[in-house]
Amino acid sequence: MIVVKDVCKRYGDFTALEDINLEFTNGLYGLLAPNGAGKTTLIKMLATLISPSSGEIQYNGENIVSMDQRYRELLGFLPQQFGFYKNYSPAQYLFYLAALKGISKQQARIKIDELLAKVALSDVKHKKMKKFSGGMIQRVGIAQALLNDPKILILDEPTAGLDPKERARFRHLLTDLARERLVIISTHIVSDIESIANEIIMIKNKRLLYKDSVEQICETLRDAVYETTVDFSQLDEFRKRFVLLSEKQEYGKMIVRFIHKGDKEEEWIPVHPQLEDVFLYEYQDEMVEGL
């Protein structure tokens, strides 16, 4: 079990994360927040690439920095920007990483074949990676993260560059993997994790906002999400009054999905809140700033 205890991360005057407390057991955790919210900072701390300014991260009661190699041999990590050796083939690159992960040559060869088949790259096993598409590179990244059969699998924006078919295949793979290990996925794409995560972690204003199941998080907007039809002429006024979650044009009118906490109007249809609704609602300010 991983426990994040009172973790803060500061870079000079800038605070990236503040007072983070989390517990991870086996299963799939989705770390959901917009870009720049501190997801990657937390992920890098979990991968021992950066150290907390205060607080600590423990694995089974022991500080992960003190555990050093013993912790990292349990770890599989795919960073957001997966760097690779352009002039190496996937087999050569994975063979090198297998050495860094302490896997014997013989075991590595078997494991590499198995993983490249799993990510559908067997055909290009010996081709130089400089000719690979973004999706293919990302699949090599996923394969390397699984090389040492990790007990802790941390994936930072793993679906970047994957097409819809690859995303679906990847979700199935993750569901399988999460049965017997801890999988943490950092993403800003709700659909990547909504259906597969056991728990969602959301960070806002550098602090932990939610750590709960999708259902429980959606409960926070119970009886607050509605759909209704508005005329185009009224749309601007509507946008000012309510938090709009989505807009859809139909038969010359706009069907809008929005949030309102208070008395409902007659023509509004209450709908069941989705994780995306919570995401859009909670990060509305950051998203406007982002625009």
Binding site: Q69, L75, G83, Y85
Partner: protein, 416 residues
């Protein structure tokens, strides 16, 4: 070990390193072959050593003179006239007359000419060495280098020690051994200055490039987040350091091996390996080469190669430390180059009245640029007997400390 080998493979697969190595080797071979026109003439020394022994004794020199007289008799039969020296014969000979001789006769004349040159030099050794006044030589050097004050005192004190060594060398008869005529062929300068300096610069370029390449590889390929989060973690740097040092040794061995291999195939040193490096025949400029120790040509060559290997390893270590800091191979390369030039030029900025003028010369750049003068008491401001071992020891300690500090810093550094 497996990781170290895989790291080495990155250098071996680098087209830049391979391309430069091939280019440098080709250039070295070109320089050797371009300067090989006198290679046949050098072989006379091997014959002399075979016939009269390596050491020049009065009896062996007498034998040599008798043989030259016999050759002059043979020349008389050829030319029909008695000459006291082959040079007298050549002086009165025009090209047309010379061309009338057969190839065999021409070779005989040429060999006799060489024998007379060597005999003449050997006969005048005592006379020439008697003229050498080390004290006066020290004073002249002080004026030449404009050294004064405390520095002059230090210089003269060392010069006194060198005077004793010079006497000891004369007593040992180290100077009375056959070697290629220095003033005619300058083989010491050619090998240890031209060829070695060329090889040193080439090795340094390749080693600095390969070390910076390996140390910064993960950052430049943006694979650092993957590699440093593996089981090996930041200790990967230790493997990279081991690989850098191994590649430095391999590069130095390959450049030295290929170039010196060809050099000694072109120039036959087989009979002079045991000749003293302080031989009077190794006198090329105003002052003879006199080593602080009784070193043979072979021992001197091995010692120089040893020094070069150690210096190259230290350069690799220092480059590695800088690479960890700046994480960019190009910046590292330019920083090392700038540091090298600055350290080499540093004595020029120090007042020549202070002992610092000598102290700042105890640097790796000065050491590798002064290869022909290493272990010599006749090598200018770095003629100190302790120059080599103090420089190597001090810079070894400095390099180890720098590496430890860099590694410890990196071990705690956030990897972004």
């Amino acid at each position: 070990m497996r990781i170290v080998l895989l790291e080495c493979k990155k250098v071996i697969m680098s087209p830049v390193i391979i391309g430069l190595f091939l280019l440098f080797t080709a250039f070295n071979l070109l320089v050797i072959f371009n300067s090989s026109d006198h290679r046949e003439e050098l072989k006379i020394v091997n014959e002399i050593i075979d016939t009269y022994g390596r050491e020049i004794t009065p009896s062996s020199l007498e034998l040599f003179k008798i043989d030259i007289q016999n050759d002059l008799l043979e020349l008389e039969q050829l030319s029909g006239k008695r000459y006291d020296s082959v040079y007298d014969f050549l002086e009165g000979l025009d090209m047309e007359a010379y061309e009338r001789y057969s190839e065999k006769e021409k070779t005989f004349i040429s060999q006799l000419q060489l024998k007379e040159m060597y005999e003449s030099t050997a006969s005048s050794i005592d006379e020439n060495y008697a003229k050498i006044d080390i004290e006066k030589f020290g004073q002249t050097s002080l004026e030449m280098y404009q050294v004064s004050g405390q520095a002059a005192k230090t210089y003269l004190a060392e010069n006194e020690k060198f005077a004793k060594r010079f006497e000891e060398m004369i007593q040992n008869g180290e100077h009375k051994q056959w070697f290629f005529a220095g003033k005619a062929y300058m083989m010491h300068t050619f090998l240890f200055k031209n060829i070695f300096l060329q090889m040193t610069i080439e090795i340094l370029l390749l080693v600095v490039l390969s070390t910076a390449f390996l140390a910064t590889y993960e950052f430049e390929q943006r694979s650092h987040l993957v590699t440093f989060s593996t089981r090996r973690g930041r200790k990967l740097l230790l493997d990279k350091l081991a690989a850098s040092l191994a590649m430095a040794v391999a590069i130095a061995a390959l450049v030295l091996g290929s170039t010196l291999g060809v050099f000694f195939m072109v120039f036959d040193y087989s009979h002079v390996w045991e000749t003293s490096i302080s031989s009077a025949f190794n006198w090329e400029y105003n002052f003879p080469n006199v080593a602080w120790w009784d070193l043979s040509v072979g021992q001197f060559l091995l010692a120089v190669i040893g020094m070069l290997f150690i210096a190259i390893l230290l350069f690799s270590g220092l480059t590695f430390a800088i690479s960890i800091l700046v994480k960019n191979s190009y910046i590292t390369f330019f920083l090392v180059a700038a540091g090298f030039i600055l350290l080499y030029m540093l004595p020029g900025f120090i007042p020549h009245s202070s002992n610092w003028v000598f102290a700042v010369g105890y640097t790796l750049p000065t050491l590798v640029m002064a290869i022909p003068g290493l272990f010599m008491g006749s090598s200018g401001l770095i003629f100190f007997k302790n120059f080599e071992w103090v420089t190597i020891s001090a810079w070894t300690v400095f390099t180890i400390i720098t590496l430890v500090i860099s590694y410890r810093r990196f071990a705690k550094l956030d990897i972004q």
